[in-house]
């Protein structure tokens, strides 16, 4: 009885589901941003370059509704550019992971190796991956492989550090179980250490792909040719701000999807452990 009484007092707001409330707020916020944007442009508060929200929405729809058109080499749909960037990120990321995971396992298993290699990791970790771009150009003499090189370097460190951490910090009791059964070193690594470190490794991969997707835009702006970074720079040269905003939103969406996919993978290897 008392419970009913208190709920009815709280009124309508309490009865609405929190998620619904958040969605409504979110949409209201969007409407607010759009109105400020639209009013600002109409009253010429912003630079004359700035397109109105409606123009941008129209242009966004134009790009999105026909993402894969091709009018010669310099006029392609944004879908193509996204695919090219995505392909570069996936290849570069795979190269990075293929180096970082085995190396991380090895240095995670050996305290001596870990201490020997750690100074280099600590030194190189804080450097922007773009600083490697000229070295890539010098070494590889090819813009496409340079982009892959930069992405591979980008992907390397988070995965390496997380793999090392995961392997070095396997729960002692799991190792005690393996030892008490007389499991060989190889069997222990294969059946205990790697699955125990898997959530940590995947967390590293998730960070890596996130940063790789951040860096690809900048790398393509510098390297040019194709890709969504090139697209953005090209549209800036065309002074087409609407296209740039379109690209920003789409890049964000792809990044979000990549992150969610790795989040799923993380959940999948965790088996109830804290993610």
């Amino acid at each position: 009885m008392t419970i009913q009484a208190t709920t009815s007092k709280k009124g309508i707001l309490a009865k609405i589901d929190k998620n619904l409330l958040a969605t409504i707020l979110s949409l209201l916020l969007l409407a607010l941003i759009f109105s400020i944007w639209e009013l600002g442009v109409n009253n010429q508060i912003f630079s004359p370059l700035m397109p109105s929200a409606t123009q941008t929405a129209q242009d966004f729809w134009k790009w999105v509704s026909n993402p894969f058109y091709e009018n010669g080499n310099n006029d392609k749909g944004i879908g193509w550019h996204l695919l090219v960037s995505l392909r570069r990120v996936l290849i570069g990321f795979s190269i990075g992971a293929a180096i970082a995971i085995p190396l991380g396992i090895v240095i995670g298993l050996s305290e001596v190796l870990s201490k020997a290699i750690d100074p280099y990791i600590q030194l190189l970790k804080p450097v922007s991956p773009l600083a490697w771009l000229p070295i890539g150009l010098g070494l590889l003499k090819d813009s496409e492989s340079t982009a892959l090189f930069v992405i591979a370097i980008t992907s390397l460190f988070p995965t390496l550090i997380n793999t090392k951490f995961g392997v070095a910090n396997v729960d002692r009791t799991y190792l005690d179980v393996a030892r008490s059964l007389g499991a060989s070193r190889w069997r222990t690594i294969q059946k205990i250490i790697l699955p125990a470190a898997a959530p940590s490794i995947v967390a590293g991969l998730r960070i890596s792909i996130g940063i790789a997707w951040l860096v690809i835009v900048a790398a393509e702006i510098l390297v040019g040719g194709t890709g969504v970074g090139y697209f953005i720079w090209n549209e800036w040269n065309n002074l087409s701000i609407t296209s740039i905003i379109t690209a920003i939103i789409l890049v964000g969406m792809v990044g979000l999807i990549l992150d969610r996919l790795f989040g799923l993978l993380q959940y999948w290897v965790s088996f109830g452990r804290q993610v």
């Binding site: 005690d176 030892r179 059964l181 088996f271 109830g272």
Partner: protein, 303 residues
């Protein structure tokens, strides 16, 4: 006072305060012997520690402890917290090396863990990525790599049945309750057919009802398997229900054996009727006195 054929005795002259007067009856070979085990944790006294004034003294966890356990005996080790019970079990398991002294199994010195000793861990130590079946299978496959696959499968199912987990084979540990997890732990330890079963406060993390249920399970399984068991416990009732012998330890540092008690009650034992046995209350009172005295000393030493 100490006869060579006593089922169980405390050998060491320094430590042998009392040996329980009982059962010198049938000759039983000693299966597990601890000879003058000491465990000292080194203090900090490196150059850097001395410069920063952060040196600490060596900590003697266990001092000169000797113990002999005959085959097919259920032995509980009970003592105040921090007395090195778990350290002692880890030494028997071979997971840590004692500073001095030796562990002998069937007369042979052992220095590392081996599947002749099965361990049941307090925190279950199940692999979260393996199902119930896979956790037990991992142990069987590791210990008996040459066993035909069909037989391995059969052994795993046999022990899943023994602990009453049929139907839960495909579940992962995070889908199980604490009691079920520990039943997997028990099945895993038994499935490798160890000579000695080591249990480190196996029911410590469980609620009272589940604990009682699992104690009954252990009693039932022990009746079937009759392994040599070393059980570390805090619980007087648990020790009396399950053990043939109860080793009471003094408080740390330099923990040693204070007294060894015989539990003469016939098996199979029933939790419900055990306290009607003659001598039950006397035994329990004796243990309670000792433990509360030691625990009080531990608490006072902390102030």
């Amino acid at each position: 006072m100490i006869s060579s054929n006593s089922i169980f005795n405390s050998l060491d002259s320094i430590n042998s305060l009392v040996d329980s007067g009982g059962s010198n009856s049938a000759y039983q070979p000693v299966q597990l012997a601890l000879k003058q085990i000491s465990m000292v944790y080194q203090g900090r006294r490196g150059l850097l520690d001395r410069l920063t004034g952060r040196t600490s003294k060596d900590y003697v966890a266990i001092a000169d402890l000797s113990l002999e356990i005959t085959a097919n005996t259920f032995v509980s080790i009970i003592g105040p917290s921090g007395c090195g019970k778990s350290t002692l079990l880890n030494i028997i398991a071979g997971l840590i090396e004692p500073t001095s002294g030796s562990v002998l199994i069937n007369g042979k010195e052992v220095h590392s863990p081996a599947p002749d000793r099965g361990i049941i861990f307090q925190n279950y130590a199940l692999m979260p990525w393996m199902t119930v079946y896979e956790n037990i299978r991992f142990a069987v496959e590791t210990v008996f790599p040459k066993m035909p696959l069909g037989e391995q499968r059969q052994v795993v199912h046999q022990f899943i049945d023994l602990v009453g987990l049929r139907g839960a084979e495909k579940k992962h540990p995070h889908e199980l309750s604490g009691g079920m997890k520990q039943r997997v732990g028990i099945a895993r330890a038994l499935a490798i057919n160890p000579e000695i079963l080591l249990m480190d406060e196996p029911f410590g993390a469980l609620d009272a009802l589940t604990r009682g249920f699992l104690q009954d399970e252990i009693e039932r399984i022990w009746e079937q398997q009759r392994k040599t068991v070393v059980l570390i416990t805090h619980s007087i009732e648990e020790a009396i229900l399950l053990s043939d012998r109860i080793v009471m330890m003094t408080k740390g540092p330099a923990a040693k054996i204070a007294q060894i008690l015989d539990v003469p009650f016939p098996r199979p034992r029933q939790r419900e009727t055990l306290d009607q046995m003659r001598g039950y209350h006397q035994l329990k009172a004796e243990m309670e006195q000792h433990l509360s005295r030691e625990t009080r000393a531990v608490e006072e030493a902390r102030i």
